[in-house]
Amino acid sequence: MLIAVLIITLLGIVFGLGLGWAAIRFRVKSDPVVERIDALLPQTQCGQCGYPGCRPYAEAISKEEADINQCPPGGDAGIRALADLLGREPKPLNPENGEEKPKTVVLIDESRCIGCTLCIQACPVDAIVGAAKLMHTVIASECTGCDLCLPPCPVDCIDIIEVETGILRWRRPRPRAGLDLVIVQ
């Protein structure tokens, strides 16, 4: 009896130490779920979800502080992907966060720009170049269309334009779904 108790206790201590060591030795530095959620987000860094960027929102989702339907640029497809990953039910986009829109970029009207640098400070992806009291311009290929540069502009010289879809960027439309099968009795 006593021997059995001792053996079990001893085993418990040995395994406990082993597990404790393993917990320190093999610690995962960042939460892999956060990485995977972040990979599904559109990276516009627009903050419409209520968090200062896509990664903070991903962290909030992983801690279950935020819901999965707060990202307007990701749209329905994004919500479905998140629901798939997290094993939850997809739900419609929360209208409080905004609505899904076609992709846009911004354009600075260079004749009106006074060179205040406020938009440069607001841009989350450093897509605006310029210097104090000199003209600024947007690098269109880097602009994510987050529109965060619009509110700080004191002279209202930034316009939203739709991304050009010329003949080279043309994409085939989804084929029309077939007629539903009607069973005539």
């Binding site: 987000l41 990276q43 860094q45 990664r55 992806v125 450093d126 880097e142 080279l168 084929p175 077939g178």
Partner: protein
């Protein structure tokens, strides 16, 4: 497989019949357009030469409205795609968007030229001594003359040749197997200009450093074999053979043709150069002969105008920029019951809404169909899993699976099931008993996949830029905080400050004015 084994197999090309998977035997309907010799249509009064002729970028225009151009003068420049030349001498009227043959139906930029009728050529620079010229100079000549594959894909010839020259190539295959019904422009070219094709083949062979040339034609092309064999009967034409292949659609695809000739399969995602072969269309070879031996750039091509909706179907040698309507008029106009105009063949072509579109490098056929030709649109029914589509697929894909995966947006599965290998031949569409527009789905799926790659690249870039910016802001904040603490420290430490002031006064005395006092500014490290 070793290179020597590849050569051995290529040498046997055509002696044994091989097959590719699936395919269809179609009624070919080619004879109707082969009745009269090929002619040039009358010179049109206006030509619109598109600056977008193949996948890639839009060529930059080298001329402006009002400029005089000579026949063969370069008017469009684009790297690495093919150059574009003026098909006539005349005056540039405008550079503007006009209807072109594009699956989107959108207009594209064109150089509009009004011919002056003088047909004055630009100074031509042929390479007369091509037998001794270097491979590089031959390939450069092909690029300068704007050569591109005339089989339909319009891949720039110089790019293909460069890829071939950098690999070890033993065999050049000339593709005369024009398997799609109705199209007969390659057959007519082989009948009428066999010498030019053989000359082009020899030049291409030299440029590639290949040893053999195999010209593949279809077994139904009666007089063609005799013409080509006769043309290939010269002292300089050793190792040029003409091989007949059975006519099964889509044998004109280069991968399918190589499989029929050699029994070897070009690996998915690979190219024929992986097997030591390069495949070119016979019309491209003829264009190479023109470009190198005569210095003439590519400004026209053979084109079939056919179908039951055309009064007298035939082939033309048409200048690029000629409107389809001009060609149709030149062969007697439409019949009364014409219903649809298709660019390309009935299997892979696409309908266009206007006959105002210009002829381009890719235009091998204009097909006018009548109401009887067009099957009544059948309602699409659910897939019944009969497997017919998989049976006829020449690339052994599973079209029914791909269709469902694309429909449900399972893009990882779509990639795994090899959508990228689909050649859009339309065999699966043709046999589907449920009338599912499979190829339409596959084209959509390919576009979607391409877009997903672009989007994920863009979002990756945005993520990186956001993270870098966050890191920079954090660093600046830390640097500020550090600076503040040092300042505070310095103010507290009165004695040290006195020392510092004395030290800087001393230094100023020793070195004179104009020296900065970097050490005392308390600038923090960059970490």
């Amino acid at each position: 497989m070793t290179f020597s084994r590849q050569i051995e197999i290529a040498r046997e090309a055509g002696k044994r019949t091989h097959h590719f998977h699936g395919g269809l035997r179609l009624r070919h309907n080619k004879k109707i357009s082969c009745q009269v010799p090929v002619e040039r249509p009358p010179l049109p009064d206006l030509l619109a030469v598109p600056l977008l002729q193949h996948a890639g970028d839009i060529a930059g225009s080298l001329v402006h409205a009002g400029d005089q151009v000579l026949k063969g003068q370069q008017i469009g420049h684009c790297q690495p795609c093919a150059a574009i030349h003026s098909p006539v001498s005349g005056r540039v009227e405008a550079i503007e968007n006009r209807p072109i043959s594009h699956p989107s139906g959108q207009p594209g930029p064109c150089v509009v030229i009004r011919p002056d009728g003088r047909e004055q050529w630009v100074e031509l620079k042929p390479i007369k001594d091509w037998r001794t010229a270097s491979s590089d100079s031959l390939i450069a000549q092909m690029q300068d003359c704007g050569l591109a594959g005339l089989g339909g894909a319009v891949f720039p010839t110089h790019a293909k040749a460069l890829d071939g020259r950098d690999r070890q190539i033993h065999t050049l295959i000339l593709n005369g197997a024009e398997c799609e019904p109705y199209i007969s422009c390659d057959e007519m070219l082989m009948r009428e200009q066999p010498d030019k094709i053989i000359l082009g083949a020899r030049i291409l062979r030299r440029a590639l450093g290949a040893e053999r040339v195999v010209i593949a034609i279809e077994d139904q092309m009666g007089a063609v074999q005799a013409a080509l064999t006769h043309a290939a009967d010269c002292t300089d034409c050793t190792n040029v053979s003409v091989v007949k292949v059975p006519m099964i659609y889509p044998e004109g695809g280069e991968r399918q043709l190589i499989q029929v000739l050699t029994g070897l399969e070009v690996p998915a995602g690979g190219r024929p150069t992986d097997l030591g072969m390069v495949c070119q269309n016979v019309a491209t070879a003829a264009a190479v002969a023109d470009a190198v031996a005569e210095g003439k750039p590519l400004i026209d091509r053979y084109i079939t105008v056919t179908g039951n909706g055309i009064s007298q179907p035939r082939n033309f040698q048409a200048l690029f920029g000629t409107r389809f309507s001009h060609l149709v008029e030149s062969c007697g106009g439409y019949t009364d019951d014409v219903a649809r105009l298709v660019v390309g063949g009935p299997m892979m072509g696409y309908p266009v809404s206007t006959d105002g579109n210009p002829v381009v490098k890719a235009s091998n056929c204009i097909l006018a169909l009548t109401t009887q030709d067009i099957a009544e649109p059948q309602p699409e029914m659910p897939c019944i899993r009969c497997g017919e589509c998989a049976r006829v697929c020449p690339v052994t894909l599973l079209p029914q699976q791909l269709h469902l995966q694309i429909k449900s947006g399972l893009w990882d599965a779509v990639e795994e099931y090899g959508l990228a290998a689909c050649i859009e031949c339309g065999c699966c569409d043709f046999v589907c008993p449920s009338h599912i527009p499979l190829v339409e789905w596959f084209r959509y799926g390919k576009d979607e996949q391409r877009n997903r790659v672009l989007e994920s690249k863009a979002s990756e870039l945005a993520r990186k830029r956001f993270e870098d910016r966050e890191a920079r802001l954090l660093r600046i904040k830390q640097e500020r905080a550090e600076k503040m603490t040092r300042r505070k420290q310095m103010l507290k430490d009165k004695a040290a400050q006195q020392d510092r002031i004395r030290a800087s006064i001393d230094r100023a005395k020793h070195k004179g004015p104009g020296n900065s006092d970097r050490q005392t500014s308390g600038k923090p490290d960059d970490t």
